[in-house]
């Protein structure tokens, strides 16, 4: 779809053979770095990684490498006790984080689209969490959510004092099995609610023709039906785009979990990204790690495919004139 647009009519080229050859030469000259990169760092490694997934192979032990066919896949599905739980946990994490961040970002964008005085200032403030390096954010949150000394639990305690006279005991966050994963979700929500997605939504909202709202208002639509029947359909392509990207990102979450909990306590935050990391870069079980990565790719592809299929029912493209 995107490639079509490239066929810009050219005034002079094409009628002169020599110029054309010159054009092909220079095109490939400019593409050379990328073609090398594509071959050496992308296509080659992909093929190699496919091959690797059929071997039992530990880094540095070429002699002991054995071909095991689908053995790694079988191992993941039937023998690896951490595999299914980590996958399920990642689904859960994604299922909570994606709707919260996507709709949170949409609501934030709608708030900014109200053109309050100081919108630029608000936008900058909302965007700052997104700019915070995830590593720094993870440390700040780890400390913020410290069960004993953190501001959040202190706030909860003080709230209890104010309401009932005795303090409420806050959750254990990253030191408790129930609250560690919600802690990671909070980090993700904080970073995303005013981030890139919000900016993209804002651009989408500003692109909705004002007439549509005026017509709807004349027809007597209240603010909810204006949202439901104008904003939502008009913003649906953006919503769809953001949801897909958010899913892909959430599924690969690594840094926050690695820093805040290292997957603990008792594997409560052992997300799929950590599982890949552990097997590949700590145990150097390269064949198995490659397999786990491919499983991730397949899961994400299926996920995205399903989203594309179901999107036909709810995504509205104004340009298609339906």
């Amino acid at each position: 779809m995107v490639t079509r647009a490239a066929a810009v009519p050219r005034a002079m080229v094409g009628t002169q053979g020599s110029l054309r050859r010159d054009e092909v030469f220079w095109a490939y000259a400019f593409l050379t770095p990328w073609l090398i990169g594509l071959a050496v760092f992308i296509v080659g490694p992909i093929l190699f990684s496919l091959g690797m997934s059929t071997f039992n192979y530990t880094l540095g032990r070429e002699a002991e490498a054995t071909f095991i066919g689908l053995g790694n896949w079988v191992r993941a599905f039937t023998k690896d006790e951490l595999f299914w739980p980590s996958l399920g946990r990642t689904f859960l994490y994604t299922a909570v984080v994606v709707p919260c961040t996507v709709f949170g970002a949409l609501l934030t964008a709608m708030l900014l689209n109200e053109r309050l005085r100081g919108t630029t200032f608000y936008r900058t403030v909302f965007f700052m969490p997104h700019l915070t390096p995830i590593v720094a954010a993870a440390y700040i949150w780890l400390w913020l959510l410290s069960p004993q000394y953190g501001a959040i639990n202190e706030g909860i305690w003080q709230l209890g004092v104010a309401l009932t006279g005795t303090g409420f005991k806050g959750p254990g966050w990253f030191s408790s099995t129930e609250w560690a994963l919600p802690g990671l979700m909070l980090i993700a929500l904080w970073g995303a609610i005013g981030g890139n997605m919000m900016v993209i939504f804002l651009a989408g909202l500003q692109g909705i023709p004002q007439e549509l709202y005026e017509v709807a208002a004349i027809d007597g639509a209240n603010s909810w039906s204006r949202f439901r029947h104008v904003t939502l359909p008009m913003i649906s392509p953006t919503l769809f785009f953001n949801s897909i990207l958010a899913c892909v990102a959430a599924f690969q979450t690594f840094e926050s979990a690695f820093i805040a909990t290292k997957g603990g306590p008792a594997y409560a935050t052992w997300l799929y990204g950590l599982h890949i990391y552990r097997n590949t870069f700590e145990l150097f079980d390269m064949g198995y790690g490659a397999t786990l990565a491919w499983i991730l790719f397949i899961v994400l592809s299926v996920f995205t495919y399903i989203q594309f299929r179901t999107s036909r029912a709810w995504v509205f493209y104004a340009g298609e004139g339906r």
Binding site: M1, V2, A5, A6, V8, R10, G14, E23, W26, A27, F30, L31, P33, W34, G37, L38, F41, I42, G44, I46, F48, M52, L111, L112, N113, E114, L116, R117, L131, T132, V135, A136, Y139, I140, A151, V199, I200, G207, I208, Q210, E214, N222, S223, F227, T231, T238, F241, F251, F254, T280, F281, M286, G289, A290, A293, F297, L300, Y317, A318, G319
Partner: protein, 301 residues
């Protein structure tokens, strides 16, 4: 996919007349209510920064005092100097700056060249190559990272900066796409005119396109610069000498290896703020470009 709607939309924003609120709460809440909402959201989102700031200005033991001091009794600004004495902090900052600059420069050069080829040339295999380029965007990082790690290992590149710099001089699909999109908005008549005057393709790129492309270069530099500065997993697996770490990986040493068992939370918070600050400053400098880039890459995706 959203392409077709865009040209029409672009014009709309400039001259929007009276607005009818599209937000449900717009009708329910008065304007002051919306302001209140925005302020509250801002406060909630800023709270972690405030917490990091006050923690970074406390003394070691004061950080763990209950009840919490919501402002340090005496602001210990020297913490921000003390951070530099922890382990290899100065090295880490320098390494981060170095790696960010080298990798970002590589991405800009190689991706803009490829973007130029895709935007302006007709050559056999173009559609296939471009589709392939876009397809690589779909791959999860881990799928590439593992075999690449093996490659670096085979080449003897582990524990060097080569894996963190060299690959970026060979293009990145996302930025190639970004550059292509931008170059395609520059009228091709300019190229044709230059060609009539006898300019070759490199010259057209250098003297016609480049001078007009400051916005996209700024956008790409900011996005990739921030990516590189924040990069964690790659350096984590490639490097194992602490003095070679970038800041993102080095920060762990405030927690993992405090040396004297005294709490280092205040220094960790100071270091985290110092790691965040350059990103925010960079963002402020290029805010306009950055937002434009996000929108451009987002909506045309």
């Amino acid at each position: 996919m959203v392409d077709h709607a865009m040209p029409a939309r672009a014009g709309m924003t400039a001259k929007q007349p009276l607005r009818v609120a599209g937000l449900p709460v717009g009708a329910i809440l008065p304007r002051s209510g919306l302001h209140l909402l925005a302020v509250l959201l801002g406060i909630v989102l800023m709270l972690p920064f405030y917490w990091a700031l006050i923690s970074s200005l406390k003394e070691g033991p004061e950080v763990r005092r209950i009840p919490i001091d919501w402002w340090p009794q005496v602001a210990q600004w020297h913490n921000y100097l003390d951070v530099w004495t922890v382990r290899f902090f100065a090295n880490w900052v320098f390494n981060s700056v170095f790696l960010t600059l080298v990798a970002t420069a590589g991405t800009l050069v190689s991706s803009s060249l490829a973007g130029y080829a895709f935007a302006r040339f007709r050559f056999p295999g173009k559609d296939l190559l471009f589709t392939l380029t876009l397809a690589t965007l779909m791959l999860p990082g881990y799928v590439l990272l593992i075999p690449n790690y093996m490659l670096f290992w085979k080449l003897g590149w582990l524990n060097t900066y080569l894996p963190l710099t060299v690959p970026f001089w060979f293009g990145s699909a996302f930025f190639i796409f970004l550059f292509r999109q931008f170059f395609m908005t520059i009228p091709i008549d300019l190229d044709d005119a230059a060609r009539i005057d006898g300019a070759g393709y490199p010259r057209i790129f250098w003297s016609i396109l480049l001078p007009l492309s400051a916005p996209v270069f700024a956008t790409a530099a900011i996005i990739e610069g921030i990516n590189q500065w924040n990069s964690f997993l790659r350096p984590l697996i490639i490097l194992n000498k602490p003095e070679m770490f970038p800041l993102s990986v080095g920060l762990r040493y405030f927690v993992v290896n405090p040396g004297d068992n005294l709490p280092k939370d205040h220094l960790l918070m100071a270091a985290s703020i110092m790691m965040t600050l350059p990103v925010i400053i960079l963002f402020f400098i290029g805010q306009r470009q950055f937002v434009r880039g996000v929108v451009m890459s987002g909506i045309k995706g």
